[in-house]
Symmetry: C2
Subunit: 279 residues, 2 copies
């Protein structure tokens, strides 16, 4: 783990990342030594810095550190954590406080190929995403809602949980964004009041725009999801997973999901067998 440019495995006990979750993170797919969709991850990180009034990190320095961490890795996961650094007690931000940069590399998770070929089973979580436009969209370190939602089930068959806002509208998965296809139109929930503006979500939205495919950003009810023709999840690491079961609804992977997976999966850790099978 590279912390402020030095290899270490611990951080100051006074870091505001620990005391307040005062920071941001990005999780990137690494392929052939290269972090994928780097510019978009950096764009979101900068937007997060603006929102939290964190001093932005020198992009040249961060890129150099990322390349050092990723060097020689053919397939891995890099996590970048940025915090406001150590400080004395109190919520007030001290002028000129030094950020803490943490770059760590982990092995790529070994998901079964069936997740791509047959899809995954998902559930609806009871834990809600609170409405907070000041924190929506960015990937900050206040993640207790996700922790509580993931603690709701143990069944290994269920791979992901959907989270609703306080009004019961589906916003996203715990670690993914959700899309549905209905009569050749695709839809995904907005993330202006809560949720994360996922990088793979953006990749899919831009692909749809380029492809001339109608795409709506709108609130989705659990019922609409069950009545969809196709449902899929995405994030920077997994690429695209078709959903095969949600409550009493069942699907076989659909043609548009396969097309999208083939189109965008190359910059994720989607296995080659899934990419070609998806096409």
């Amino acid at each position: 783990v590279l912390i402020n440019g030095r290899y270490a495995d611990s951080i100051s006990v006074h870091d505001r990342g620990l005391h307040y979750g005062d920071g941001l993170f990005e999780t990137l797919a690494v392929k052939q030594g290269q972090p994928q969709l780097w510019d978009w991850h950096m764009e979101r990180l900068r937007a997060g810095c603006d929102r939290l009034r964190l001093a932005p990190v020198d992009p040249v320095l961060l890129r150099a550190e990322a390349e050092e961490v990723c060097a020689g890795k053919s397939r891995a996961v890099m996590k970048i954590v940025l915090t406001r650094g150590p400080a004395v007690r109190g919520y007030r931000i001290e002028a000129g406080s030094a950020a803490t940069r943490i770059l760590s590399l982990a092995e790529a998770a070994d998901y079964p190929l069936s997740y791509y070929r047959e899809g995954v089973a998902i559930r609806l979580c009871q834990t809600r995403l609170a409405c907070n436009p000041a924190l929506a969209g960015i990937k900050h370190l206040n993640r207790l809602e996700q922790v509580l939602a993931r603690a709701e089930w143990d069944d290994e068959e269920i791979v992901e949980g959907l989270m609703c806002d306080v009004d019961g509208r589906v916003i996203e998965g715990i670690m993914s964004n959700i899309f549905l296809v209905r009569q050749d139109r695709i839809a995904t929930p907005p993330v202006a009041a809560c949720g994360v503006a996922g990088i793979m979500r953006r990749r899919i939205m831009e692909w749809a725009r380029d492809d001339g495919l109608p795409l709506e950003e709108r609130a989705l009810s659990p019922r609409e999801i069950k009545e969809a023709d196709e449902v899929f999840l995405c994030n920077s690491l997994i690429g695209v997973w078709p959903v095969r079961r949600f409550e009493d609804a069942d699907w076989r992977p659909g043609p548009l999901t396969a097309r999208i997976g083939a189109a965008v999966g190359g910059c994720s850790l989607m296995p080659d067998a899934a990419l070609s099978g998806a096409a």
Copy 2:
């Protein structure tokens, strides 16, 4: 700083407290080597562990560590942080994961005596408290709302900011709870949907109950606060601060605020001069 029973100044970079704010904290006044209102702080900490499904810490062990940290300190602040400890990537809670306990001591803040004798000026923050009953009341490590609220002003004259819920009802101060007095009735907002169930808030509520003073827990509008006869703030460290100015409203410290300060301040870091002056 005592971390899991050993003196250290850093924690694992893989600690879930850092990555997700997955943990709790308590801030206690220390007087004559003794942490104040210990049982109530421990009660709230246990309630937080239940809510977050954190394994509770052995109370005898924690008490012994607290006494070690506080020994010989006549006046100080102890912070206890409890996290879910280090883990691999992913929101899922691993069974039997070891918690991290962090006990640290800091000097008592040196607030001017005028905060107690004349009161403090406060403001209304734009940053809202999101509604989340699953996290309300407990003192968890997801504190970005407080960080953003405190970053709204620089004016040293303003000592505290009031935070509203998404419906614009005042819930609490950034680092304190709020009470108002109107026609000899006292009121404080409920903390069931957002906010922190402060220990000094509880102390005051129980004192009012014992004293036969009518006390309501109800939502307060900024306007109601301005129209109150007396307004005061409280927390475990400061004890009770009268509010002297809020927007266009001004007050001189009122008689009930003084009575309450004298009654409950002894278990906070309220200076003796303020305690006697308040009585």
